[in-house]
Symmetry: C2
Subunit: 331 residues, 2 copies
């Protein structure tokens, strides 16, 4: 518990610094760009986000030996790309809310949300190209390319009731893992890490991203709507089959399996949420999914053992706490 407090304090300080750099960027834009564009960016970027991706860039760079200020600017690019993705996702998912605020596309319009996303996209790529060179840019662009590819897969998989574990891991890797892994990898590159260090941090990001998404999918069933801001069973209602259900299907007996299949095949699934939750819980789907998240976190932490110099222990500990925090989070 004390560790969590320590982490929270450290993250808060860094997030405030990151917000400061983002505000600098916006102020520089305001002189040259359309006023409405700046308003949309301000609205969409400052919404209480935890700035996890920039934080990972800064920490990875520092762990590899470079703690300079441009690491923050590089980190902001990851937040810009993340925000661009959310602007466009909210149009695609027809979302009305994002983090307790009206979504950008609802507040300002679809046109504005598409354009502001494209703007952030280009701005983030320019920053990464400038600060992290062609190799960093390639990693960054590949993460974007993979995210889009993942969305297309999801469009096709939405209807599939036979979705298995490999499909699930493939999808969350693209949806969440790639950009988080890219933040760690590009940060390490920028920090001047050796190939082994860069690879260790990339893998940390892969495992962290997967753990993060598994917990997200667990919270969708088990979270407190007052804290998560989403209705329980939202994924199921939208036709998304996530890990707890996939594992429950594998672990259930014949009767439960048949009942689950019938529930998942329903056209209007809102009525099925309570019963699906009960079956998944009874056959151990939630517990098994949590065990997977724990194992991802263990792998994430394990890979950082190569950072064994005394001077590296401060950052390494934050990385470890961050991974454990993912398991503890409630929203």
């Amino acid at each position: 518990m004390q560790q969590m407090e320590e982490l929270r304090a450290a993250v808060k300080i860094e997030a405030a610094k990151i917000d400061g750099y983002m505000r600098q960027d916006l102020a520089a834009l305001e002189a040259a760009r359309d006023g409405l564009l700046c308003e949309v960016l301000e609205y969409g970027l400052f919404n209480g986000g935890k700035r996890i991706r920039p934080l990972l860039v800064v920490l990875a760079s520092r762990l590899c030996g470079n703690g300079d200020e441009d690491a923050y600017r590089l980190g902001c690019a990851f937040e810009y790309l993340h925000a661009a993705t959310l602007f466009h996702d909210d149009i695609i998912d027809n979302s009305t809310m994002r983090r307790g605020k009206t979504a950008v596309c609802r507040q300002y319009g679809t046109t504005q949300a598409i354009l502001a996303g494209d703007f952030l996209h280009a701005m983030s790529m320019a920053t990464v190209g400038r600060l992290a060179g062609p190799r960093g840019l390639e990693i960054f662009c590949n993460a974007t390319i993979g995210m889009v590819d993942g969305e297309f897969m999801q469009l096709r998989n939405a209807a599939k009731e036979t979705l298995g574990e490999p499909d699930y891991y493939h999808a969350i890797m693209r949806k969440t893992g790639l950009l988080i892994a890219a933040a760690c990898e590009v940060g390490a590159l920028y920090g001047g890490g050796t190939d082994a260090q860069v690879e260790a941090l990339r893998l940390y990001g892969v495992h962290l991203g997967c753990a993060f998404q598994i917990v997200d999918d667990l919270l969708d069933y088990q979270g407190d709507p007052a804290r998560t801001g989403k209705a329980v069973g939202n994924d199921l209602v939208e036709g998304k089959i996530t890990l707890p259900v996939i594992l429950a299907r594998q672990m259930a007996g014949e009767e439960d399996r048949r009942r689950l299949a019938a529930l998942l095949a329903m056209d209007v699934r809102a009525a099925a949420v309570a019963e699906v939750t009960a079956i998944v819980s009874r056959v151990g789907g939630f517990a098994a999914a949590r065990a997977r998240a724990e194992s991802e976190v263990a792998s994430a932490v394990e890979g950082l053992r190569i950072f064994d110099l005394p001077g590296q222990q401060g950052e390494r500990r934050i990385f470890e706490q961050l991974a454990r925090y993912v398991l503890a989070r409630e929203k």
Copy 2:
């Protein structure tokens, strides 16, 4: 006329080569990416486009001394960004058709058009970063950023009836000029041009882009719908005040000016097209706009005089013909 034939033949050969590189890129993607994504890209990219932007990259590089094959790959990136912009524009403008084919967003859906645009965006940035370095990437990203900024300006200006010439030039520079100028500038950079050569080609692109857009706006009133694929007066109907009208307003007597203002203020402007066209024609708005396009072309050609070595005359002549072709085009 013979010059035009010579140009057309040269452009056709180069466009076929550019299409070949684009097909290679798509084939490489198909192995790794979602099938539907590849189908959307194939549909959206191969629609009889003239490949002007890639052509400018290749020619600029060659004029500066480098005629290698990667110049074509770099050129394709400009076509990808251009296509990404069109995918998103068709959503924004609620367009049903593009170049005589159903628009991507109508054929495959808004979600698919947003995502495929984002994909091409990232792919184009990665290519430019790889082949043209941080400076080339910065020019490329700034063109994108400027285009978005221009779209926001246009959103605000759509309602303005007092739009003047400076607003118009500012808008077309962003909408068309920046990316065409970037194609020339990045091509020149890639080709190893001197600072003076890079700047001369950038300016050529600025003037060419402006001439191109002015002629586009003239064709909207004066073109043959069977060739342009658009109804006459489409811009006016959509509330876009373009150069012929702006100049007509400056040149008209008191009575015509008042009548124009009344027509432009109408809610449904479709009924006003014939009368606006008649007034603009009578007071000389079309002729004055065409004179501006001719003067842009003259400036474009003039700036290329620094390429005075015997070995540069072949490419330089194509640049000159291309600029003159812009004035002659009918669609």
